[in-house]
């Protein structure tokens, strides 16, 4: 397992190191931009053209042997695809749009990448410099709009700056705590002609950017190890930082040597193998009972690459209140932000884990026999479970359980939308490797699944890429069915169709006496719209199978549990993209659940 992870990490790094050759003379600004992207190792961009970005598209055709341009059907789809590309590979994802509405369609994607710390460079066309500020056609001050939702932003105002800005953008996006960078590119600069030789490797001018962390302090490593040695109930609380620092192998070695159970955040799934006995799976609002009980009882919390988000902690004052906290993060502003850290290590998680592993001795291993016994009891008493529907119906949880059973040997890359299906996927699909699980976690952007999956598929054409989606989420970026067909991206869509906005509906049922408030997705004259139906799906709207077929995507529907296995097999085995419309009853809730702002003692399991 550990060796396997190491090799896959190295591969990504060597691929990024090779520098392709690009012309250095007689180019216009747009061509310099594209050449600079290629020089950064970009092999795929997701770009939707428009008036202010046409020169970039012309340039992209000039370099088409070096960079593939995928045409999404909406800029938001392109932005999420770039995120998918980045999440699956660790490389910087690139998306391009025109000015005005094209640019504003990136807003959600940038905010999404910011909250989940995804390296991404978004390039927007802008009106010519002399039009800026005049309310010109398709002019928006996109840099102003996006300041707070990007890691950094540039507007190119001089031709000579293009290679430097591209280099800086990639450096900022991918180093330290990764994040999205916006480059706004006025059309007249795109069309300007080069005068001399272009240097694609100019010196960067970033006096205020210092992503590198200090070398790991040996005294803090010693203190951490001493805290572990003295602990009786240690727990690892691991998040997205473990994915982006590519430290799964080190984490595995450490957790195994110290015998510490591992709970993961939604962003951290796959950092430690989900099928391992030591995994407590996901913690937090919809995490497992045993992970949340363990966190609550722990006397030492090793918080690695996490930010104590409210969906994890619930009521902050009650979160892990008996535990001493060791917090490792490469973003200094996360340390002590929500929770005071008794041992605060501002550093790269991979380096910290390497230092811990190097300093670790067998004598440091704490006596955790009783702790493991307690956890095993919780695991036996409160497993993830769901009820048998009694009839030949497919519950969402069961659908994902089956999908896992039938695909777990195939190294699946999984993207999800946002809602019940997302949580069930996080609970019932076990990821053994990092970068296999792609979820809009911090922002919770519905419509994320399909475009993200297509970005993953573009990066990894040979892999099995599945979008687990809900009918509400799927419809938000359904236009990307055209992209997966036209661009030959064989994404599989596993659609849990319950005709409702399930997560909101679940809250209505739990906290609002079941009053249906715009959570039924069928016609308004259907009694279900007011929660007064029979509870069975009397009509299904829309017809997703017909819809997919009209886009040229193969599809079938399945509503019977007895037919699910053959339907999943058909989905996997049919060449090209495929939509499997899984009709599910809507009465199911995502459980366990800790209501927002509450603590572990308020956990709902029934």
């Amino acid at each position: 397992m550990a060796t396997d992870l190491k090799t896959s990490n190295t591969k990504v790094k060597t691929a990024a190191a090779a520098k392709p050759s690009v012309p250095t003379r007689d180019l216009n600004g747009a061509e310099v931009l594209v050449a600079a992207l290629i020089n950064q190792g970009v092999d795929n961009v997701f770009a939707y053209p428009g008036g202010a970005s046409m020169p970039i598209h012309q340039a992209l055709t000039k370099f088409k042997t070096q960079v593939r341009t995928i045409l999404p059907r909406h800029e938001q789809g392109g932005g999420f695809a770039a995120e998918g590309y980045a999440r699956a590979t660790g490389k910087v994802g690139v998306c391009i749009a025109t000015s005005g509405p094209g640019a504003t369609n990136f807003v959600t994607c940038l905010a999404d990448a910011k909250l989940d710390s995804i390296p991404m460079v978004a390039i927007t066309g802008q009106v010519a410099r002399h039009f800026i500020g005049s309310d010109a056609f398709q002019e928006t001050p996109i840099v102003e709009v996006c300041r707070a939702i990007t890691k950094h932003h540039f507007m190119i105002t001089n031709f000579e700056d293009i290679p430097r800005i591209v280099k800086e953008a990639f450096h900022i996006a991918s180093s330290g705590r990764p994040g999205p960078v916006l480059i706004d590119f006025p059309k007249d600069v795109q069309l300007e002609k080069s005068k001399g030789e272009i240097n694609y490797d100019p010196e960067m001018d970033l006096p205020g950017y210092h992503p590198e962390c200090k070398a790991v302090s040996t005294s803090l490593v010693r203190k951490t190890i001493a805290a572990i040695r003295e602990s009786k109930k240690p727990i690892l609380y691991v998040g997205g930082g473990a994915i982006s620092s590519e430290c799964s192998a080190e984490l595995y070695t450490f957790a195994k040597a110290a015998g510490i159970p591992v709970a993961m955040t939604l962003m951290g799934l796959g950092a430690f193998p989900g099928s391992d006995d030591q995994s407590l799976h996901m913690l937090g609002m919809h995490g497992t009972v045993y992970a949340n009980y363990a966190i609550n009882d722990a006397d030492l919390l090793l918080a690695f690459g996490v930010r104590f988000d409210d969906r994890v902690t619930g009521k902050l004052a009650e979160f892990a209140q008996h535990g001493k906290v060791v917090h490792v993060d490469n973003d200094a502003s996360e340390i002590h932000k929500n929770r005071f850290a008794d041992i605060a290590i501002h550093g790269d998680l991979k380096e910290v884990l390497q230092a811990l592993n190097a300093a670790w001795t067998e004598a440091d291993k704490p006596d955790t026999k009783a702790w493991h016994k307690q956890i095993a009891e919780w695991k036996a008493k409160f497993p993830l479970r769901y009820n048998d529907p009694g009839r030949d119906l497919i519950l969402g949880q069961h659908a994902i359980d089956e999908l896992y059973r039938l695909t777990k040997t195939q190294d699946v890359y999984m993207a999800v939308g946002v809602g019940q299906h997302q949580m069930w996927a996080a609970q019932f699909y076990k990821f053994d490797k990092p970068r296999r699980w792609m979820s809009s976690s911090g922002l919770g952007s519905m419509g994320f699944g399909l475009p993200c999956a297509m970005g993953v598929q573009a990066a990894l054409p040979e892999k099995l890429v599945i979008d687990i989606d809900g009918d509400g989420s799927f419809l938000m970026n359904v236009q990307e069915l055209a992209t997966i067909h036209c661009e030959k991206l064989p994404v599989k869509i596993f659609l849990l169709n319950n005709q409702h906005l399930g997560m909101v509906m679940q809250w209505e049922d739990r906290f609002m006496k079941g009053n249906r408030a715009h959570t039924y997705l069928g016609p308004i004259d259907n009694p279900e719209a007011e929660g007064k139906g029979t509870g069975d799906h009397t009509e299904l709207y829309p017809n997703f199978v017909q819809m997919a077929k009209s886009f040229g995507v193969n599809a079938r529907s399945v509503a019977k549990k007895s037919e699910l296995e053959s339907a999943i097999k058909e989905m996997i085995e049919t060449p090209g993209p495929f939509l499997l419309d899984v009709i599910c009853p809507y009465q199911e809730h995502v459980l366990p659940m800790i209501p927002g702002g509450k603590g572990v003692r308020d956990i709902i399991t029934e």
């Binding site: 840099v143 707070a148 950094h152 970033l206 006397d299 902050l316 004052a317 001493k324 929770r339 005071f340």
Partner: protein, 209 residues
């Protein structure tokens, strides 16, 4: 690093030290940020402060000896935890080169004010006298008012405003605070202590307009 007072607190039993160890006392801090002098930096910083709901009492910006950089001086109000966040969030902004917290350090702070005071009631000589005591300068005289320029630490400026109130303040404008650390080798001076009514330490005005 973060300054923390940990005296006598049992860490193992103090899960949330920020709230636990000390009552969240509100403090005023003067922060100084060296930033890259390019368009949008001020908007970025003020947007960050607003979106994270940090309260800023004053903000002054100006070029430095190096035209590539500007210096911003903030006066921030909040608990130590808030201030720690403000500083770290400022440092995270790519165009912010360096942030210094002047609190507990030996620094000089100044505020500059222009104040227009009514002299309709024949009070010009009284106003002039007070301005002189405060080492202010009269920079404009009208038939019914004078305009005074005065600089100094915040308390001095506020004391002067209080003194002018009875005469009738027509309008006033302040720059907000600017501050710089003193050289370490010089002995500290006491002008920061200058309280209400105490004249400031600057040399006497060279000319009164």
């Amino acid at each position: 690093m973060v300054r923390r007072r940990r005296g006598g607190v049992d860490l193992a039993n103090a899960p949330n030290l920020w709230e636990f160890a000390r009552p969240p006392s509100i403090m005023k801090h003067v922060l100084s940020a060296l930033v890259v002098n390019q368009p949008g930096v001020l908007a970025h910083i003020s947007g960050m402060l607003a979106s994270r709901a940090f309260n800023i009492d004053s903000l002054a910006v100006g070029a430095t000896e190096n035209p590539e950089f500007s210096r911003m001086t903030f006066v921030v109000h909040g608990t130590e935890k808030t201030l720690d966040q403000v500083r770290k969030q400022l440092e995270k902004i790519i165009t912010v080169v360096k942030v210094i917290d002047f609190s507990n350090q030996n620094f000089v702070e100044r505020d500059l004010m222009l104040i227009k005071v009514s002299t309709e009631a024949g009070t010009r000589s009284q106003v002039k006298e007070l301005a002189e005591i405060f080492r202010g300068r009269i920079v404009d005289v009208g038939t019914g008012h004078v305009m005074i320029e005065i600089s100094g630490p915040e308390r001095k400026i506020e004391a002067f405003i209080d003194m002018m109130r009875p005469f009738g303040i027509i309008e006033l404008v302040r720059t907000g605070r600017i501050a710089l650390l003193r050289s370490a080798e010089l002995p500290p001076q006491d002008e920061d202590e200058a309280g209400a009514g105490v004249p400031a330490d600057e040399p006497p005005p060279e000319a009164v307009v």
